[in-house]
């Protein structure tokens, strides 16, 4: 199960979501795809991949790759974790 770091501060710019890690003072911008995933957290990889399939008409394989890529970027910045 993937979940957001509860300390992260979120600013919604409409088509973009800006995440700020308050302890690191680092910012990370999510595009529409990242925003879609973030707003569903906490969620499983299967659930998030399915969401990308449905929203963007991706193949299951493409959707899973994309979801994994976004989650990995977020995880390395301590914005999400997997429990």
């Amino acid at each position: 199960m993937w979940q957001a770091n509860s300390a992260v501060l979120i600013t919604d710019l409409g088509d973009e979501l800006v995440l700020m890690h308050p302890e690191r003072s680092e910012m990370f911008s999510l595009n529409a795809t990242g925003k879609l995933l973030w707003q569903q957290l906490p969620a499983t990889l299967d659930s998030l991949s399915h969401s990308l399939e449905q929203t963007y008409g991706l193949t299951p394989s493409q959707a899973r790759d994309d979801a994994e890529a976004v989650l990995e970027q977020l995880r390395t910045r301590d914005l999400v974790n997997c429990v």
Partner: protein, 302 residues
């Protein structure tokens, strides 16, 4: 029990007179002293009374519960350390415990009292949860319209504010502003604009006669402000810098740095919402110390 108001909240204090007086000096809504007089003592102030159904802040002595399952951090404010722990809507700062809520908050302080830093952090968190975005910014107004000026230390904010005061603008605060995201109203909790003698002599010599007899701890003159002379709506936020244009990420970062980072969930929820609402008011192009006065005058005089 002492009752006073802070922004739109009714404060009910059962603290000792000394503790209560210290908090009121910083957190009670300022009122305009009579012309030519020294500022009123907090106990004599007829501060704006909030609506009977307004937010409530309860202050009293008590035994703060021990933090369990809380996040911990060593924070620093004004170069002073404070041990912080928080969990959802609860906040511990040294020996000060706060339950933070949108409509009601409760602060319990141990017998030994709490530092000014702990009180400041706790009450800022409480005001955040009530929908007020703290802004480290000067706010100047004319009529019911106001402009906030922010910038890093040394950018020229204080000088610009002094010059605007000298030009006859109402200065709502020099750096302790609070913006109400739901209504757009901006208020300040400063009583004075502080300035060194040479700054006053250079930029607003006509104000020197208004300075109080007392000075601040750095020896600065204290020029009385008129923060409670009517509500003001915030039109725009100007960032003092080099005239460059900020991208969206830079604008978001600036606002978070200007408002500070909340700790508890009620405050975080409110500030996240507030920053999103304030962002359209932040001018993308920064102003410089050379054009900030023109920018403010254009906004407030037309």
């Amino acid at each position: 029990m002492n009752r006073w108001s802070s922004l739109d909240a009714q404060v009910q204090s059962e603290l000792t007179p000394a503790q209560d007086s210290e908090l009121r000096a910083l957190w009670e809504n300022p009122v305009l002293p009579a012309e030519g007089s020294e500022p009123l003592a907090p106990s004599a102030q007829a501060a704006v009374q909030p609506h009977p159904d307004s937010r409530r802040i309860e202050l009293r002595e008590g035994v703060p519960p021990q933090p369990v399952g809380a996040s911990h951090a060593a924070l620093t404010l004004m170069d002073l350390p404070v041990e912080a722990a928080w969990n959802e809507s609860r906040l511990w700062l040294d020996d000060l415990y706060t339950e933070v809520g949108q409509h009601s908050s409760r602060l319990l302080v141990g017998k030994g009292g709490a530092s000014a830093v702990a009180w400041s952090l706790a009450l800022t968190e409480v005001q955040r949860a009530g929908g007020w975005l703290p802004l480290h910014a000067a706010v100047v107004a004319r009529g019911g319209k106001a402009v906030a000026i922010t910038g890093v230390s040394g950018a020229g904010k204080s000088t610009a504010t002094l010059r605007l005061l000298g030009l006859g603008f109402r200065v709502i605060c020099e750096d302790r502003a609070f913006w109400h995201a739901a209504s757009g109203e901006v208020r300040g909790l400063d009583r004075w604009l502080r300035a060194f003698d040479d700054s006053v002599d250079t930029f607003a010599p006509q104000l020197r006669d208004q300075a109080l007899a007392q000075r601040d701890i750095k020896g600065k003159l204290l020029l009385p402000l008129t923060p409670d002379a009517g509500a003001a709506q915030l039109l725009e936020v100007l960032a003092l810098s080099d005239g460059s244009v900020m991208d969206s990420a830079g604008r978001v970062r600036l606002l978070w740095e200007t408002t500070g980072y909340p700790l508890t969930r009620p405050a975080r929820d409110a500030v996240q919402h507030g920053v999103g609402r304030l962002l359209p008011l932040l001018r993308a192009q920064t102003v410089t110390r050379h054009n900030v006065l023109d920018a403010v005058q254009e906004l407030l005089e037309f």
